[in-house]
Symmetry: C2
Subunit: 347 residues, 2 copies
DNA sequence: AAACCGAAATGAATCGATTCAATAATGTAT
DNA sequence: ATACATTATTGAATCGATTCATTTCGGTTT
C-alpha cells in the first residue's frame, strides 16, 4: 500500500505554495487559470485523489451532514410508514441544502450513545416520544443544533410537533357525528415500559409520551363534551403493528361487544382493527366506525377505505431538517392536521 | 463564543501528558484508575466535551460510517417499498457493526458527485441499474470499498444481485401453467432515457439496465419454450409507480383486448395493473392472470392478493453492507427468488 | 542491594488539509 | 513614468486528536 499523495506533494511538484494548491481545489476563482491548470495536471500525474475529507472537516469544522436519531426503536425508522415519510422529507431538505443524511444506528442504548458521540455531523434531528432518555442526554452533550420531532426537548434549538390535541378532538367529534356511542381508544405505547393490552387509570395517569398524552386529552375532551364518561371508554394500549393490533382488537370485540366507535392513534393500528372486525363478522361502518390517525397511503386502499386524521409527515421532516440546518429564526412549529372522511366511518 | 476546551488543556490541568489523557478516554485500561479519575474530574471541571470527532477521524482514518448511494433517482430511496426494505437490511447490519449509515443525498447529478466526494465514510454501497454513470465514476475515485447492489460494477469489491433470470422464468412458467396464452410484459425502465409506453424491438435491444435485461431474457426463454413467439408478446415500459402503471395498463387493455396473462417486473407495477383491470370490468384471475415481482407486503392485501416472485430485499441490503464493511472474503453473491402463488393467478 | 520485569506515563511526530495576514505581481489612471 | 488599486501568491499557524518508541515507576526475585 503506497502512501497517499498529499496536497503538499502536489504543491511542491507544481512549484506553488500549499495555500495556492488548496485554493485551486476549493476556491478556483482565486487562482489564475494558467496556474490552476498546471496544478491539476500535476495532481493527475501524481495520482492525487483530491482533498482529504477528514482533514478538511477538521480544519473547517463543517461535516456536511445532518444526523437523524430514532431513540425509541432503531429499526422503526425503516418500518413505520410515517417514519419513512418523515425521512423522505428530511432527505428532500438535505438534498436541497447539499448536505448528507447520517442515520444513527445501533442495537442498544449504550451503542446508540457512542454512535451519537462518534457521528461527524453539523446538527441533529431526533424523533422521539419522550425526552427522559440517556440518548437525548448524549445528544445534548454534543452541543450541536438539536431539533426534536414530535416531542419538546429541553435545550433543543427548536421542535416540530403536531397539533395532536386538536387532531384527536376532530376524530372524536367525527365519530360522535356518525352516531357512535360506545367508544374504544386504541392507544400507542404510553411510556418506555413495553406493556400492551388494557390500559387502566393508573397507566393512563403515567403517560410520558407527549403524543399519547395530547391525543388522549383531545379524545377525552371531545367525547366528554358529547356526553360520554371517560370511565366508560375502553382503552387498549397497542403495539404499532397491524398484526399485533388486530389480535388485540379481536379480544376487545369479545370483551366489549357493544363498542361501535374506534379511535385509533395510528393508521397502522386502525388497519389492524379493520382486519379484526372483518374477521369477527361485523361490518364497518355499519356496526363499528373506525378512524385512524396519520393519513398513510395504505389507508386509501383498505376495504372500506380508512377515515383518518391526516398529517403531512413529509413536510414535518423537511421542516425539522430546515430548522436544524438553518441559520435564521428557529421558532418551534406546531403543524396542523385535517380530517379525511372515507368509508370506514360513513357509508 | 468561548474557545473549545481541548484535550491538551485537560492534560495540562491534570498534570499528565497529552498521551495519557488521550488514553484515559480512548483506552482506559492503559491508565491507572487513580490517574484516570483525576483526568475525568478535571475534564468535567473545565467543561471538556470529549474527544473531537473530526480530529479523531483524521488521525485514525476511520469514519465509522457506511455510505449509501442511489444514483438512479435520489428520492426513490424513501419511496419504493423494495428500496426501503433494502435500507432496513443495511441499517440492521450497520447497527450490528456499530457503524452509522450515511445516505448520500442530492438534487442532481453534479451535486451528487460532490456529495460523494465530501462524505466521510469507510465504504460505499450503491444501488443502481446500470453502471455507466458519472456518480459511479466519482465513487470509484474515492478508492474505498464499493459494493454494487442489483448491478455489477467494474472495480467494486463485490456485488449482490438477484437471480433475475430464473425468477422471471418461474413467473412465466407459472402463468403458462395457469393457462394464459396472450402475454403482456410490464417492464421497468430499460435505460437512462426516461421513456415510457410501448417498447419496440429497437428499445428492447437497447436495454442497459441489468435487471431489465435479465428478467426479459427469463420471461422470453420460458414463454418461447411454451410455444409463444416473442414478437407476439406486448411490451410496455412502465414508470415504477402504481398510479402511472395503472394508466398505462388501462390503455393496454383497450389496445390488446386478448391479453390474458400479465408479467410485471415489480409488485408496484402489478398493483397498478390490478387496479386498471378491475376498473375495466375484467376479472382477475378469471379473465387475466397477473404476477408481480419482489414480494412486497402490500401485495398480500390487494384484491385478489398478488402472486409474485419473492425476493428477500432486507437480506440483500444486509449482505451488501456486510460485504462492504467486512474484512473477510468478499465473493459476489447471487440471491435466489421463490414463487409465491396467491389469488391473482389461481382461483 | 542489584537485577529484572511488566505496567504506566511521556512527548514529539503525525494525520492532511484551510486560513489569513503579509507580500508580490499585474493592471489602470494620472 | 509614477502612484494607486486589484488580483495572485506565499508560508506559517492552526484545527484536535492518536500513536509509538522511549523512559520512569513500582514491585518481585535472586
Amino acid at each position: 500500500m503506497e502512501k497517499r499523495v498529499r496536497l503538499v506533494d502536489v504543491a511542491r511538484a507544481a512549484g506553488v505554495s500549499q495555500g495556492t494548491a488548496s485554493n485551486a481545489f476549493g476556491k478556483p476563482h482565486l487562482v489564475r487559470q494558467q496556474v490552476r491548470d498546471r496544478i491539476f495536471a500535476v495532481a493527475a500525474e501524481l495520482g492525487y485523489r483530491g482533498p482529504h475529507v477528514m482533514a478538511r472537516m477538521l480544519r473547517t469544522g463543517r461535516a456536511g451532514a445532518l444526523g437523524v436519531v430514532f431513540p425509541d426503536n432503531l429499526e422503526y425508522a425503516f418500518t413505520d410508514p410515517v417514519a419513512i415519510e418523515l425521512l423522505r422529507g428530511v432527505g428532500r431538505e438535505c438534498a436541497r441544502q447539499a448536505v448528507n443524511m447520517m442515520i444513527i444506528s445501533a442495537e442498544n442504548q449504550e451503542q446508540a450513545i457512542s454512535a451519537v458521540n462518534n457521528a461527524a455531523v453539523d446538527a441533529f434531528l431526533v424523533h422521539c416520544y419522550s425526552d427522559n432518555n440517556d440518548i437525548i442526554s448524549a445528544l445534548r452533550r454534543r452541543n450541536l443544533p438539536l431539533v426534536g420531532i414530535d416531542t419538546d426537548i429541553r435545550d433543543a434549538v427548536a421542535s416540530v410537533v403536531l397539533d395532536d390535541y386538536t387532531g384527536a378532538a376532530m376524530a372524536a367529534r367525527h365519530l360522535l357525528e356518525c352516531g357512535a356511542g360506545y367508544f374504544a381508544i386504541l392507544s400507542l405505547q404510553a411510556n418506555e415500559a413495553e406493556r400492551f393490552g388494557p390500559m387502566d387509570d393508573k397507566r393512563r395517569g403515567a403517560v410520558s409520551h407527549r403524543v399519547v398524552r395530547e391525543r388522549l386529552a383531545g379524545y377525552h375532551a371531545m367525547l366528554e363534551s358529547g356526553g360520554v364518561e371517560v370511565d366508560d371508554i375502553v382503552h387498549i394500549e397497542c403495539d404499532n403493528l397491524s398484526e399485533q393490533a388486530s389480535a388485540q382488537v379481536r379480544q376487545l370485540l369479545i370483551d366489549h361487544p357493544k363498542i361501535d366507535g374506534i379511535l385509533a392513534m395510528s393508521d397502522v393500528i386502525a388497519i389492524g382493527a379493520l382486519d379484526a372486525i372483518k374477521k369477527a363478522g361485523k361490518s364497518v361502518p355499519g356496526d363499528i366506525r373506525v378512524i385512524g390517525f396519520d393519513g398513510i397511503a395504505d389507508g386509501e386502499r383498505t376495504d372500506p377505505p380508512l377515515s383518518t386524521i391526516t398529517q403531512n409527515s413529509v413536510e414535518k421532516g423537511r421542516l425539522a431538517a430546515e430548522l436544524a440546518l438553518g441559520e435564521g429564526d428557529r421558532r418551534s412549529r406546531v403543524l396542523p392536521t385535517t380530517l379525511t372522511v372515507r368509508g370506514s366511518t360513513k357509508a
